[in-house]
């Protein structure tokens, strides 16, 4: 504290040095949309570096989810946990990562209240860059969560037939979908007034979306109306696609549906987010 006070007192602004740094040089060309987004992504990684505790939710939470459900349902649903894991692991990976996407909205909601966004919004850069970059940072978190679950799964006995390419392909598809899905939460992050309400809405959407799917059990035992919902739930298509890719035999319709759904999510929620962002 005392050193801070001393520094502040020691400083005497000198018109000469200030004049030098203020000299009007040639202004650099404005960065491309991609470069600006990457720079905002760098900001997100710096924040992770300064506050590493925030990685708790992308490491501890997925591990607990995986262990909990594997041992809870494994014996009852598939005869053994090892047997269940072959079916269940891709699904719990999707569930965990999709649930983590809600922190994008929570983070934006707290971040936007701070003065720094005023500065970002007065910069002459591609408008969505600040948000795209933020989600780039979150994509790193999704990757970390997916990797954590995969490692836990492999330790517990998950043996995907698709091998390394299958696993990488499956994770890649999950990341693409999660990037797209994050725009739902940026919209809510800008729309809702508090962090708590963003959390509330996220839970309301995420629980039915992830549980009413083919993540935990085969839908064939469900009542007809529920099967109808499960069949249109994008999470079902995503899980089907990832399971098939990891098992080495990609299910093309599910893959296409997932990519289409991702494009639609960005188009609709990305646009809504930018409208709100510009009006904020």
């Amino acid at each position: 504290m005392s050193s801070t006070a001393q520094e502040a007192t020691a400083f005497t602004p000198s018109a000469e040095t200030l004049g030098t740094v203020l000299a009007r040089g040639d202004r650099p060309r404005r960065p491309s949309a991609w470069a600006a987004s990457l720079t905002f992504g760098w900001r997100a990684t710096l924040k992770i570096k300064h506050v590493p505790e925030q990685l708790f939710d992308v490491t501890a939470f997925p591990i607990i989810m995986t262990l909990m459900f594997t041992y809870l349902f494994g014996g009852a649903l598939a005869g053994s946990t090892r047997e269940y894991l072959q079916f269940f692991l891709p699904g719990i990976m999707v569930t965990s990562v999709v649930m983590i996407t809600m922190y994008t909205g929570v983070g934006l909601n707290t971040d936007i209240e701070k003065g720094v966004f005023d500065r970002f919004r007065t910069l002459p850069v591609w408008r969505p860059a600040a948000l795209v970059g933020m989600i780039f940072g979150d994509v790193l978190r999704y990757l970390l969560a997916a990797t954590t679950i995969m490692v836990v799964g492999l330790i517990l006995g998950f043996r995907p037939e698709g091998g390394v390419p299958g696993v990488l392909g499956g994770v890649a598809l999950l990341i693409v979908f999660s990037f797209a899905f994050s725009w739902v939460w940026t919209m809510f992050g800008l729309l809702l007034r508090s962090e708590k309400s963003v959390m509330g809405v996220s839970m309301l959407v995420l629980f039915p979306l992830t549980f009413l799917s083919n993540v935990f059990v085969e839908p064939s035992t469900m009542p007809g109306w529920l099967q109808a919902f499960v069949a249109v739930n994008p999470i079902t298509h995503l899980v089907t696609a990832i399971r098939s890719i990891m098992s080495g035999a990609p299910h093309m319709p599910a893959l296409m549906w997932t990519l289409l759904a991702s494009a639609a999510l960005v188009a609709v929620f990305g646009t809504l987010t930018m409208r709100l962002y510009n009006r904020k």
Partner: protein, 320 residues
């Protein structure tokens, strides 16, 4: 004819039922410091936010260097820079990281961004704090990193929203020095402030804002002479002499004299508007008259009118 940096006509912004800005017409000549003076909630910040393209006006229009703030927002953004009321830097990042981040966003290459950051940190006396998170900075240092971030690409127009609110006197005068240096390079500065002396120190012209309306506009000199230049505070040794002192002051200054709660204190406004003498001269003559009358003065001060007094004077004027 000097070019115009900012021009607004009939600018309006409403939040629900509240007309935060209610028809403001401003003209800010390029290369000058323009002060928006007013109390909290007067609408100063809202005006600045509209000009900085952060808020859309609900009525009227505003241009910055001839570009409309709504239709040509991008052109406006490439000419302006904003230092908000609350730190407009990322508090989780270090000083260097903040400046490098913004320099990169303004198009500097990595080496050039680093060089620029180092240069600015040195010029703002923050080299020792370069690798510390901004949230650990003192108030004055925070302001400086904030202003440094605003002048990365020396802007043509710099908005400073209450740049010295909450700062200690030392940090305050540092900010003033910085503002003077910025203006000397040709940048136009639009600053908001609650302090009359700050506007007086820095601004070439001042607009006084209250309840979203502009109630006065002019050079500091014009405003002061229109409201009386200052307040004379006198403390006597002997409370019994107060009635006599009050008479002398009233006669010499030509205004009503206020008797303070403290039985030896008197306050009077030195109104220079109706006189060919300055306030200081009036006050010194009043002091001499008190001495002539055998009244012992223990303490004496000529203060600038406070913002309260300015508003009182201006609103009285408006009502009359």
């Amino acid at each position: 004819m000097s070019p115009t940096a900012v021009e607004t006509s009939g600018l309006v912004k409403t939040f629900g039922d509240n007309r935060a800005v209610d028809g403001v017409d401003l003209t800010v000549p390029a290369g000058t410091v323009y002060g928006l003076l007013g109390p909290n909630g007067a609408g100063k910040t809202t005006v600045v936010r509209m000009l900085a393209t952060l808020l859309r006006p609900d009525g009227g229009r505003a241009t910055v260097f001839g570009h409309d703030v709504v239709r040509e927002a991008d052109a406006v953004r490439s000419r302006v820079s904003l230092t908000g009321q609350y730190a407009s830097v990322d508090e989780d990042l270090t000083g260097t990281e903040n400046l490098v981040l913004l320099a990169r966003l303004l198009g500097h290459s990595k080496p050039s961004a680093r060089e620029r950051a180092t240069q600015l940190l040195a010029a703002f006396g923050l080299t020792d704090a370069a690798d510390r998170q901004v949230k650990k900075y003192s108030g004055g240092m925070r302001r400086r990193i904030d202003i440094a971030a605003s002048i990365l690409n020396t802007p043509d127009l710099l908005f400073l929203d209450e740049p010295t609110t909450g700062l200690d006197p030392r940090s305050r005068s540092q900010v003033w020095e910085i503002v003077r240096a910025v203006v000397a390079t040709g940048t136009t500065v639009l600053l908001t402030t609650q302090y009359l002396d700050e506007a007086d120190q820095l601004a070439h012209r001042i607009a006084v804002i209250d309840h979203g309306r502009m109630i006065a506009e002019g050079t500091p000199g014009e405003l002061k002479s229109s409201i009386g230049a200052g307040t004379v505070h006198v403390r006597l040794r002997d409370a019994e002499q107060r009635p006599a002192a009050s008479l002398v002051l009233a006669e010499e200054l030509g205004t009503t004299v206020q008797l303070e709660a403290d039985p030896v204190a008197l306050t009077a406004r030195a109104d220079a508007s109706g006189s060919d003498r300055g306030a200081a001269e009036q006050a010194s003559r009043a002091l001499a008259r008190l001495a002539d009358a055998g009244i012992i003065v223990d303490d004496f001060a000529l203060g600038q009118p406070s913002l309260d007094e300015v508003f009182l004077a201006l609103t009285e004027e408006a009502a009359a």
